[in-house]
């Protein structure tokens, strides 16, 4: 770029479309490439380390286990881009599963109502978090910490601390376990859960990049005061972001309940950390303003490939946790390095 003082010398300077090289060296793109390269490197490593790794069963297993965390991570991506945080996604997922159980098993409603219930209660809970954060000005960390515990308690109370099974609703397990793709292309038995993850990711990506909601999500994380002074109702949009995020958690609730054929009220805590880790590994900055769904999905795959590969290599569960911790610290440090190097160049 030239400075504006050289107006006559270079009339069209600064108008040249960004070259591929420019794009590749954008910090955000760099992190995405780095994450993707890490994923490939991990997969190459594990496939050499164990012949078991590349077997179809195992790959399907990896996909299956990425689905729930991936959907939760997409929910978190929205919130984290606004420079917020949501600690309640894990227990919210469980709460949604329990509410689906109530609608389907206790009340005997049809399947589609159960699906709607999961998404509705997810959105409702997200709406409450949004209200707490936007209207009562409670910091997101605290507000969602409270919601996390509140939802965990509610799940236990409503279910009487016992799992709710979906044996009366045939077809419920199909949501996650059958394979629509496999029915059409028998050589690709990809479970529906992965298809749903893919659809949610595409939808979320379109919302983030093409719609007003997405624009305000980034804008809020970049400079909330500037958005407010531009005449945008920032409180309203913040609530919308948390509501949408909650609705996506509802989908995750459906997926996990369908996979287990039950709503397990004690499950859920800890999932939020895996989701946040996936988001951060995928290059979404915890300080807000940047992030991509593609990055988040890569992050979620890195997490599950790592877990799966270490298990195949018979690394003890407790060491797997240690490795995950190290990976998260490295990812956050990469974010800090990236921000430090992001100096003004034009």
């Amino acid at each position: 770029m030239t400075t504006p003082t050289v107006t006559t010398a270079a009339p069209a300077a600064g108008f040249s479309p960004k070259t591929l090289k420019d794009r590749l060296f954008r910090p955000a793109t760099r992190q995405k490439l780095l994450a993707f390269a890490s994923l490939v490197a991990l997969m190459v490593f594990f496939s050499f380390a164990s012949p078991q790794f590349l077997q179809a069963d195992n790959l399907v297993g990896i996909l299956q286990s990425t689905a729930v965390n991936g959907v939760l991570a997409i929910a978190c991506t929205f919130v984290i881009i606004t420079s917020g945080i949501d600690l309640s996604v894990g227990t919210l997922m469980t709460f949604c599963a329990v509410m689906t159980g109530v609608v389907l098993t206790y009340m005997g409603m049809p399947l589609w109502l159960g699906i709607c219930a999961a998404i509705f209660f997810g959105a409702l809970s997200g709406f409450v978090s949004g209200l707490l954060i936007a209207k009562l000005k409670i910091p997101p960390f605290i507000a969602t910490l409270g919601m996390m515990m509140l939802l965990k308690g509610l799940s236990l109370v409503i279910s009487g601390t016992k799992p709710i099974y979906f044996n009366d609703t045939p077809g419920f397990t199909a949501i996650s376990q059958d394979s629509l793709i496999g029915d059409i292309v028998p050589s690709l038995p990809i479970p529906n859960a992965v298809l749903i993850l893919f659809l949610v990711a595409v939808a979320a990506s379109i919302v983030l990049n093409r719609t007003i909601l997405g624009r305000y999500t980034f804008a809020l994380g970049s400079n909330e005061e500037a958005v407010r002074l531009s005449g945008v109702n920032t409180d309203f949009w913040k609530i919308v972001v948390y509501t949408v995020s909650g609705g996506i958690c509802g989908i995750a609730g459906l997926l996990i309940a369908s996979r287990l054929n039950s709503a397990q009220p004690a499950l859920g805590q800890g999932y939020e950390l895996d989701a946040i880790a996936a988001v951060v590994i995928g290059g979404t900055s915890l300080s807000g303003g940047t992030g991509t769904i593609v990055g988040t999905i890569i992050g979620a795959f890195i997490m599950s490939v790592l877990t799966n590969g270490l298990r195949i290599l018979s690394v003890a569960q407790e060491w797997q946790t240690v490795v995950t911790g190290v990976i998260i610290i490295l990812a956050v440090y990469a974010d800090i390095l990236r921000r430090r190097s992001g100096s003004k160049v034009h």
Partner: protein
């Protein structure tokens, strides 16, 4: 002619402090109306009420003779009132076009998706009209401060407002950019748009303003035509008295020993190969436009930010300053431009704040704080610097800006600093207290302290400095002795950009 905007008896207080006291204002269509007054006179507050940022406490705002209630920035926009704020209000991660159209993005089919293409085209049209060469897709965070300012201006223009408020729009611009802006303003005026222009730069106001309203201490003083009113009269109205300032004698410090020398300091793109010397008893001014790298240079020397290259010498000895702790150990103190964030623990009392940087010397038995010693030190400095406080136990947040600044100074004096960096020492301080801070700085210099003043107000730099360094885009572009320094010369050096030099 019916005024577009009439403001009557408008008052506004913040936490008990009266920022506006029955202020008056009248704006005619097609005029450029300057708003003048010292810092804290209430200019920005008045305009923020008009732009819906603040709600008024009392008084009325009339638009086309009709009373209106402007409850939000959006309401102001809907009424055709646009504002360029003094501080940049941009979203760094978003592109220039996205920033300009935030909150009113053009929608494509079905009204669901943002029409990015249309947005960039429109932004391009505005840039073309402004004679600004800028790709609307560039993320704003990658632009220089000057170009960010141009994006802000483009945003305000895009509203097609009937009333356009510009609060110090030229703070970061060079002469050519200012000329472009003035051309735009002239065109707006001919279309009947009314422009409110807040600036400290008298020459700019003379060039474009039709009328000027002067404010002082939140009150309306007068509205007069710009062309026929002499500068002295305006200044007298702003200050409230004839400034019969005695030319105070600048001591000759050019032979004093050098206490601090910086050689080839580099930090990122903000500080590039900067070298300077500072002598005992000297007041050295750092001048430059917003974003020129003055604060960054001071922070680099002080060790608050890591330097990429360069050396620092204290009393001729090379020292390594890797952190503020090292700097303080070498007798260097830094008074931040943002006292509340970095300089003071505002919830704590006066004596604790004064002793804060020297706690180690107030320990008894190496562990307990000797409260009597802290108190007596606090009282000594309260007396010495004339800090107005009911007691040393008073919470600092309850004191005025001027007294808070003195407490920060006391803190560093107690620490026995020989070199003091003052970053915007009088920002947010009222006129009377300003003079006292100036007197204090002169006294400190006379006692042999070496002082660096960073200030965006040229008159302040000129009045205080024995020597002035001018920076532009991270480089030191010139040095002026007090007797040869003038606003014009400083501005010339402050806009000497590297790429501009290279142009034919």
């Amino acid at each position: 002619m019916q005024p577009i905007v009439t403001i009557r008896d408008l008052s506004k207080s913040f936490a008990g402090v009266r920022a506006l006291d029955r202020a008056q204002f009248e704006l005619l269509p097609g005029e450029v109306h300057a708003l003048m007054g010292e810092n804290g006179a209430g200019k920005s507050t008045l305009m923020k009420v008009l732009a819906g940022v603040y709600r008024k406490d009392s008084g009325e705002v009339l638009l086309d003779g009709q009373p209106v209630d402007i409850e939000s920035p959006r309401a102001a926009q809907a009424l055709g009132i646009g504002i360029i704020h003094q501080e940049l209000n941009l979203m760094n991660h978003l592109s220039a076009a996205q920033n300009i159209f935030i909150g009113r993005e053009p929608r494509g089919r079905f009204g669901l998706f943002i029409d990015e293409e249309a947005m960039c085209c429109e932004a391009q049209l505005i840039f073309d009209r402004m004679n600004l060469k800028l790709d609307p897709r560039t993320p704003v965070g990658e632009l220089t401060v000057a170009r960010q300012q141009m994006v802000e201006i483009a945003k305000a223009l895009s509203f097609e407002s009937r009333v356009l408020i510009m609060d110090e729009p030229t703070a970061a611009l060079n002469n050519e950019e200012v000329a472009d802006l003035f051309r735009i303003i002239a065109r707006l005026r001919s279309r009947g748009v009314a422009v409110v222009y807040i600036s400290h730069k008298m020459d700019e106001l003379k060039r474009i303003a039709d009328r000027v309203t002067v404010m002082r201490d939140g009150q309306y003083i007068a509205t007069v035509p710009m062309a026929t009113t002499p500068m002295d009269t305006l200044i007298a109205m702003m200050v409230g008295r004839q400034l019969a300032e005695a030319e105070h004698e600048m001591p000759d410090t050019s032979a004093n020993e050098v206490v601090l020398e910086a050689r080839g300091i580099c930090r990122g793109t903000m500080v590039r190969d900067a070298s300077f010397v500072l002598r005992r008893g000297e007041i050295l001014g750092f001048a430059g436009l917003m974003g020129a790298g003055r604060t960054e240079l001071a922070r680099a020397v002080f060790g608050a930010d890591r330097i990429d290259a360069g050396e620092v010498f204290v009393n001729g000895q090379k020292v390594v300053i890797g952190s503020p702790e090292d700097a303080v150990a070498n007798g260097i103190g830094y008074l931040s431009e943002d006292r509340k964030h970095f300089g003071l623990a505002t919830g704590m009392d006066v004596e604790t704040n004064i002793a804060l940087a020297s706690m180690k010397s107030f320990l008894s038995m190496g562990f307990f704080i000797d409260r009597a010693a802290v108190e007596s030190a606090g009282e000594r400095y309260v007396r010495q610097l004339g800090i107005k406080t009911p007691s040393v136990r008073q919470q600092v947040r309850l004191l005025s800006g001027g007294n808070q600044q003195k407490i920060v100074i006391a803190k560093w004096l107690l620490r026995d600093c020989k070199v003091l960096f003052f970053d915007e020492p009088t920002r947010g301080i009222d006129v009377g207290a300003k003079a006292e801070i100036y007197r204090l700085l002169n006294e400190l210099a006379a006692q042999g302290k070496a002082i660096v003043i960073i200030s965006s107000e040229l008159p302040e730099v000129l009045r205080m400095s024995h020597r002035v360094l001018v920076m532009c885009e991270g480089r030191i572009t010139g040095e002026l002795a007090a007797r040869e320094a003038s606003q014009e010369k400083i501005m010339q050096l402050a806009t000497r950009r590297e790429t501009a030099d290279a142009a034919p």
